[in-house]
């Protein structure tokens, strides 16, 4: 799994993340949307709201509720996946919701709901981390007040080496997969799961690696959010000159 020259199967160094592409505002009918491409992992996220809660009894008098649905399309994986929500998808919906909630200022919208829909178009490892990246950018592009963006990255261990941003093969045949999400400016961890066994020193190293990667991802999220407006600003200034 690790080549003799210390590189991984796809030629990355252990502490290198895959190429990350983020676009906002691609779904016209959503209040906010984002598309994230991390290597071969491709994800759409759509945000609606704050809007009225149905059924009404779910509404809370002091804050908005966040509803999150993580869904994998049948063609996202090698063997067709049934479109019905599986145990795994229900669990991922929950952990993604809990990773996003601390960042959103829910107290501003009592009796309301904010809906996040995540659709995995192609899965190649780290889909929950890519989903969190997409969802937090989509929330920000919808103009929902947030304390910070949420960046996410996974850490794996293959052949005894800690690696960043695991792919599908590395996840399946490696020893460890540790998804990690944080708010980079507040320095708070919002998601930390561990599948496998790591020693205490390894966990500490893994967290510091993931923190570094999250800061890098955060810069990309930031520029993706600004890009649309900066381009428009440039275009307007150009046309004003002529």
């Amino acid at each position: 799994m690790i080549r003799p020259d210390g590189r991984r199967l796809d030629g990355r160094r252990p502490d290198e993340i895959r190429e990350l592409k983020i676009k906002i505002g691609i779904l016209e009918n959503a209040d906010g949307s984002a598309y994230v491409e991390q290597g071969n992992t491709k994800i759409y996220a759509a945000v609606y709201g704050p809007r009225e809660v149905h059924p009404r009894h779910l509404a809370l008098p002091n804050r908005a509720i966040i509803r999150c649905r993580y869904h994998m399309t049948p063609f996202a994986v090698e063997e067709r996946k049934s479109p019905a929500p599986t145990r795994r998808e229900i669990e991922l919906s929950k952990v993604i919701r809990e990773a996003l909630t601390p960042a959103i200022i829910v107290e501003h919208f009592p009796f309301s709901a904010i809906d996040v829909f995540i659709e995995v178009i192609n899965a190649d490892g780290s889909t929950r981390c890519a989903s969190i990246i997409a969802a937090s950018v989509a929330l920000a592009s919808a103009g929902i007040p947030m304390r910070d963006l949420v960046a996410a990255c996974s850490v794996g261990k293959i052949n005894g080496v800690l690696v960043l941003d695991v792919t599908d093969i590395e996840d399946k045949y490696g020893e460890v997969d540790m998804p990690f999400a944080m708010m980079p400016n507040k320095n708070e961890i919002t998601l930390l799961q561990l599948d496998g066994v790591l020693s205490l020193e390894e966990i500490e190293k893994a967290i510091s690696m993931a923190t570094k990667a999250c800061k890098e991802i955060y810069e990309k999220q930031k520029s993706a959010l600004k890009e649309k407006y900066i381009e428009l600003r440039k275009a307007v200034e150009e046309s004003a000159k002529t």
Binding site: D31, G32, G49, P50, R51, E52, P61, A103, I105, H108, F109, P110, F111, S112, A113, A140, S141, A142, G143, I144, P145, M146, R147, D148, L149, M183, P184, N185, K186, Q221, K222, L225, K226, Y229, I230, L232, R233, V236, E237, A240
Partner: protein, 231 residues
């Protein structure tokens, strides 16, 4: 106490704007010594107060706001209005019915039907009740003609301009009657369809370019070009 941004800078949620003895304005929050933005928007700082003007976002009702609502339902003595927010608005039927009519005995759809557009003002909004609106007053009430357009509620302050400068410019140049609802709905009524189309075009341009400085000059130029006047 350093400040990391300047006016007109574009910021995203969580960006650190300044550190130290500054006051957090709208869409800014303070954590310890740091001031952070909470939404995507443009920075404005004045006399130690830092605020972010949002570029996108939902409408949050405020008492005194003029809003444009669409009737979606009736209750026994009231109408329910959609005001493009996560809260519905309630309009008491007595405000619409002729004097001394009993709302319970009347067929409410005779006065306002589902789909009707009403310009109204928010009179009450608190934690414990729905938004309550009134349609009694100057320029308020049901509208039957003109056109209704929808823009993002976050762009409304730019559309109005400082002390109404922008909207007065459009009104003057196009000769249209325009009512801006704070919730993002705008009602336009002109003498002829042409001027209504022009007003709509200008409003859409403002909504799109709200975050670029020098907006007033561009709008003036556009209005003059559209009207066929040599500049």
């Amino acid at each position: 106490m350093p400040i990391y941004v300047k006016d007109w800078d574009l910021v995203v949620p969580g960006e650190v704007l300044a550190e130290g003895d500054y006051v957090a304005g709208p869409y800014v929050y303070k954590e310890g010594n740091k001031l952070l933005a909470t939404t995507i928007g443009i920075v404005e700082s004045k006399r130690g107060v830092i605020r972010v003007v949002p570029l996108q976002g939902p409408y949050i009702p405020k008492v005194g706001d003029v809003v444009i609502g669409i009737v979606i339902d009736y209750l026994p003595t009231a109408y329910v209005l959609d005001i493009n927010s996560s809260y519905k608005a309630i309009l008491q039927a007595t405000e619409v019915l002729p004097f001394q009519k009993n709302a319970l005995a009347e067929d409410l759809s005779k006065y306002l039907d589902v789909g009707d557009v009403v310009i109204c003002k928010i009179v009450r909004f608190d934690k414990y009740s729905d938004v309550v609106v009134s349609c009694k007053g100057r320029e308020l009430g049901k509208v039957v003609d003109g056109r209704l357009i929808k823009v993002s509620p976050a762009k409304i302050p730019r559309l109005i301009g400082r002390k109404g400068s922008m909207i007065n410019l459009i009104k003057k140049e196009t000769g249209c009657k325009i009512v801006i609802g704070q919730n993002g709905f705008i009602w336009i009524k002109g003498k002829d369809p042409g001027s209504e189309v022009l007003a709509e075009k200008v409003i859409r341009k403002i909504a799109e370019e709200a975050h670029v400085s020098g907006l007033t000059q561009r709008v003036q130029l556009m209005l003059q070009l559209e009207k066929g006047v040599d500049v």
